[in-house]
Symmetry: C2
Subunit: 249 residues, 2 copies
């Protein structure tokens, strides 16, 4: 039996957003590897070994998965959302580049998933309907000066901006700085979306003007999207839709 490695996205949480190709890879796997809460989403079965590890050991986890695939295992690394967006795929290629040369001949596939910003955008309307960018506020791999610089250019470019990991454990005060920069550059009326635990039982959505946004509106499970200068709200019974028109003018 030839081994392989699939790096698969489980989407934001609901089983209705897991693609059939990911489900099929999981059905064929001998080993599933990932961060504890993502592995907890996989049903145990005979012949399948579950390897749940802590979130801070991505490179070790990736090397372990590659070594198992080289040892003829059929391995799935699970990420939430899409594995290519602030998740395990980049870590696997880092480990691949640093690892033994024969790993480069392995059968490796990345299986995309519904990433958090698209799930959040869908629930709120269409805030990413025009040009946009995605910025990871997790700080352990990126200096704050670069984050600030990137946000300022993103606002100059008039992108809608999706923020992943707004309140990381290592630097909880960072998000207050982000909100201050956004208020300074976008003004108090620009709408901002806080979408928490989308597609799960704990889902909450909140759309406020930047002037009313506060850091405590986001936690580790919140996706934050700030609109471009064109982003609009539409009032509806019980709430509002948030969307960015297709036209720039």
């Amino acid at each position: 039996m030839t081994g392989w490695l699939a790096i698969a996205g489980l989407g934001p949480g609901d089983a209705g957003m897991v693609t059939p190709e990911v489900t099929e890879a999981l059905a064929l796997a001998t080993d599933v590897v990932g961060y504890i809460p993502y592995v907890a989403r996989i049903a145990p079965r005979p012949g399948l070994t579950l390897h749940a590890t802590d979130n801070r050991v991505e490179l070790d986890r990736a090397a372990h998965a590659l070594a198992m695939a080289a040892d003829a295992k059929r391995v799935v690394i699970v990420s939430s959302g899409d594995p290519g967006v602030f998740a395990m795929a980049a870590a696997v290629f880092e480990a691949l580049e640093a690892g033994p040369a024969d790993w480069r001949a392995l059968d490796i596939r990345v299986l995309p998933g519904i990433t958090a910003m698209l799930a959040a955008s869908a629930r709120a309307g269409a805030p990413l309907g025009h040009d946009f960018c995605a910025i990871n506020l997790s700080d352990n791999l990126k200096p704050w000066s670069l984050i600030e610089r990137r946000i300022r250019f993103a606002v100059e470019a008039d992108f809608a901006i999706a923020f992943y990991n707004p309140r990381s454990v290592a630097r909880p005060e960072g998000f207050a700085h982000v909100l201050a920069i956004l208020r300074e550059t976008c003004g108090a009326h620009r709408p901002i979306l806080f979408a928490r635990a989308v597609s799960t039982a704990e889902e909450t959505l909140r759309i406020v003007p930047l002037g009313e946004a506060s850091p405590d509106m986001a936690d580790m499970r919140t996706m934050v999207i700030v609109g471009s200068s064109r982003t609009r709200t539409i009032e509806r019974p019980g709430g509002s839709w948030l969307y960015t028109p297709r036209s720039a003018a």
Copy 2:
């Protein structure tokens, strides 16, 4: 029977990337609305009316779908990829805002899908593994000056950049300008990915340095991703992987 409208993403082409919630909405629909090639992906069945229209009538199509939902139909608007990314969701909310007030009480859901940049990124490795942006080069709704300005800020921010619709019919020469700006600002060695018709029988992938990129490498079915300053290639048998490390330094 109460009507509803679902705006659903069919993913890049392969049935293995259509989410179960989209499949379920299609199974319940009385009417499917969309651009001709997307509606062609839906199997006819008794009780289902297919409404295939030209690509240039998004607002009319959206208003038609909303009117049918208000008339107690169960309507699915189909987009390729994700409906919220340069697709039909924004057009629906534009039509909703301009339409009769009672449309705002309609049951409207956006069902996310695997958007083209994430499918292309997965096939190539993980070029969007760090901060990135998405820019639509389709010109009919956006002046060229804004596109150029946005690209220059995106390069300053050091985003990887995903370009949708690189060669639109209305302005085929625009993509040559884009490549010239990228060569000027990113240099000749920065890698660029041309991913055509990902997940279909016509799929092709090509990764070249910017200095070797030419406009004819992209057509209407091509997703183009240019790396950030950190994006790297890994040689492997028969090709290479393209990825952006998680670390910025």
